[in-house]
Subunit: 193 residues, 2 copies
């Protein structure tokens, strides 16, 4: 794979905090989803769900639920993706794991384990999604500072969607990112046996 591709996806890619006026269409982000949904998950459960929040009324509902330090950038991003985990993924396993159509039954009785499995596999898929945003020529600004229960209550009442992460999506504006923070080296993070 050419160096420019690896730079765009990883080495030069940066979490973006300010945005230019260049718009992002909801369909561009839906296309990213349609690409990254092919990434592997446990027993093909695919629990990641997205709420794409446009500028306007939806954004106004989201902003007060973000941590104060995240509000200005969340207000200015062309599109904001709320990444949620569907904790009732087991109800669609008959469709997604058709060679074993009752596989979902094994998860039916244990909501705590199901929430953990949904959270883990949604995080895996979120990794694919962030790479996919970059592959589409867009920039991602993931944020952990928000009131997840309040977002669930505002946007997902009565559903099995549980908010995990919020990602601003757009093109870089002025001074769009901080200096790159130090990364761990393989010498400290990789062992061999």
């Amino acid at each position: 794979m050419p160096d420019e591709t690896l730079d765009l996806l990883f080495r030069e890619a940066r979490s973006v905090n300010t945005f230019s006026d260049e718009p992002v269409k909801i369909d561009q982000v839906r296309e990213v989803f349609e690409l990254v949904k092919y990434g592997p998950t446990m027993m093909n459960i695919q629990p990641m769900r997205l709420l794409l929040v446009e500028q306007g009324a939806g954004r106004e509902r989201l902003l007060p639920l973000m941590a104060e330090g995240n509000r200005a950038k969340t207000a200015s991003a062309p599109v904001v993706a709320v990444v949620a985990a569907d904790v009732d993924f087991h109800t669609s396993m008959a469709a997604h794991f058709p060679h074993n159509p009752t596989a979902g039954d094994m998860f039916a009785g244990d909501a705590t384990s199901r929430a953990d499995i949904a959270r883990y596999n949604t995080a895996l898929q979120t990794g694919y999604f962030i790479v996919g945003i970059r592959a589409a020529g867009l920039h991602a600004g993931p944020m952990g500072g928000f009131d997840a229960a309040a977002i669930d209550a505002e946007f997902f009442p009565g559903t099995s969607w549980r908010t995990q992460l919020v990602i601003n999506i757009g093109h870089p504006g002025e001074t769009p990112w901080f200096d790159r923070l130090p990364r761990i080296s393989a010498d400290d993070a990789v062992m061999t046996a």
Copy 2:
């Protein structure tokens, strides 16, 4: 980004179950780590750790700790990566979050929350890692069936590394994968507000 790149990373990429004789060097996988470590994590904590298990004595220690259905493919893969989360990530935040060198202190008192944060961010990084394996021209076969506590006891005693996933890495052999399983569509997984 050209269609062939997106096919290789997502659309045509498949979880591999059999392997050809083509070797994989430990250094190739370390290079994948050195690439994907640039993916974003919460406060740059980077909790993902890898144990790369070669053919031979290390592999023999791992095999009995895998679920029976995963042993044959785990035995034949050129390299096996045990993906672990470092639940004591906070002790290295002074190096990785240098503009706020005491940031790790906020995590020091709550091991339960720290384990959850380590697990979530390691899963995010595992998503980057699986894409990075593919970008390097290698194939990944992630597996959830193993005894995580037994792997921790065998390979990580007295450390803060906690096994989350095991990934076979190599090149496809004969009948290397099953038919592609159905994926969810954006119509069912993506909402707009």
